[in-house]
Symmetry: C2
DNA sequence: CAGTATCCTGTCCGATACTG
DNA sequence: CAGTATCGGACAGGATACTG
């Protein structure tokens, strides 16, 4: 019973983790966004063993993040391209990128986001698409959705109380808004 | 030599993964944001074995995401609270939440984000804090930073070419902007 | 309540060799 | 070029018992 399966859990984060929780999965996704499509390129760029690559690639295909597409008849050749679901994963990657840059690059950043129009560096921030407001613990809360079970409702009720309270303190107040490099 | 260490890699995503890549780490962080501070509460809420909890909690403390704080003299009692670095991780969690809700909740969502002022659901979106523009493959690019080595520069040069090209296609054009539930 | 101490197992991952 | 086939090791994770 090595690992519990999170699939049946209500938490969307756990469900997401179920698909990209393996060590290589997110790195493979990063590569896919960099434009890598071929087995061989994945292997060279990531320095991953071929059998592992086969497994992870296969898993991502099965989960619907990548699509295995034949691009040559003879010899038969396949490439791996992002599906819509896979493309929607990009924000997670960019949030990770921002976080990594902010906290784990003491000697300076190696990868950055650039606004090609202004030529300035991008500061990735999470906002509400509807209002444009930065997500903040003061204004926003985590609430149960329509499919939430009884247990989840109780959990979130407790959490909501905390989040509201936390919003009152200055430190935690700012926390939610800060997405990346200050 | 079980797993390669990503610590020395230039990629900020890999570096981040090094801290929260274990299965339980992100779930522990989620719990911390829900307000869980005590060992026992983590255990009950996550249904995790106590030895594993000790290990993961200790790792997160060591990585600087959590702080172990004594809140009682006698008997000595400790609690685990988010550090600044830990709080800055929230955007990643929320991006995951949005992605999970969008793609892996066929029977409806169980956890949602609410704007307490308007009473409307939040649509988490990643934007450039400077310009307020949604991140898009058309307008934004990944570029090497000051600390990028030669290898990284070459990699990103190739990637930038692809991303620019991808920005021309409609599907991939929209992809970057969509953070969560449409 | 907040862990520590053991023991066990699954599997993630690495290394290497081989194929159409 | 794009994988498949084996083999092994390390460790994440589980179960359970025990302590101040």
């Amino acid at each position: 019973m090595q690992r519990k399966t999170f699939r049946n859990m209500q938490c969307p984060i756990a469900r997401g983790l179920e698909r990209v929780g393996e060590w290589w999965s997110m790195l493979l996704m990063r590569e896919a966004f960099y434009g890598t499509r071929r087995f061989d390129d994945f292997q060279k760029n990531l320095d991953i063993a071929p059998n592992m690559l086969t497994r992870r690639l296969g898993a991502l295909v099965e989960e619907g993040l990548l699509e295995r597409r034949q691009y040559s008849e003879k010899p038969p050749r396949y490439e791996y391209v992002l599906t819509q679901c896979g493309r929607d994963f990009l924000p997670v990657l960019l949030a990770m990128l921002a976080w990594g840059n902010k906290h784990f690059a003491p000697e300076g950043t190696s990868v950055e986001l650039l606004d090609k129009e202004t030529g300035r560096l991008v500061e990735p921030v999470l906002v509400d698409g509807g209002t444009g407001e930065r997500l903040s613990l003061k204004r926003h809360a985590v609430v149960p959705g329509p499919a939430a079970g009884e247990g989840m409702r109780r959990r979130l009720a407790a959490a909501a109380g905390f989040l509201a309270a936390a919003g009152d303190t200055q430190a935690e107040n700012e926390a939610l808004a800060a997405g990346g490099a200050s």
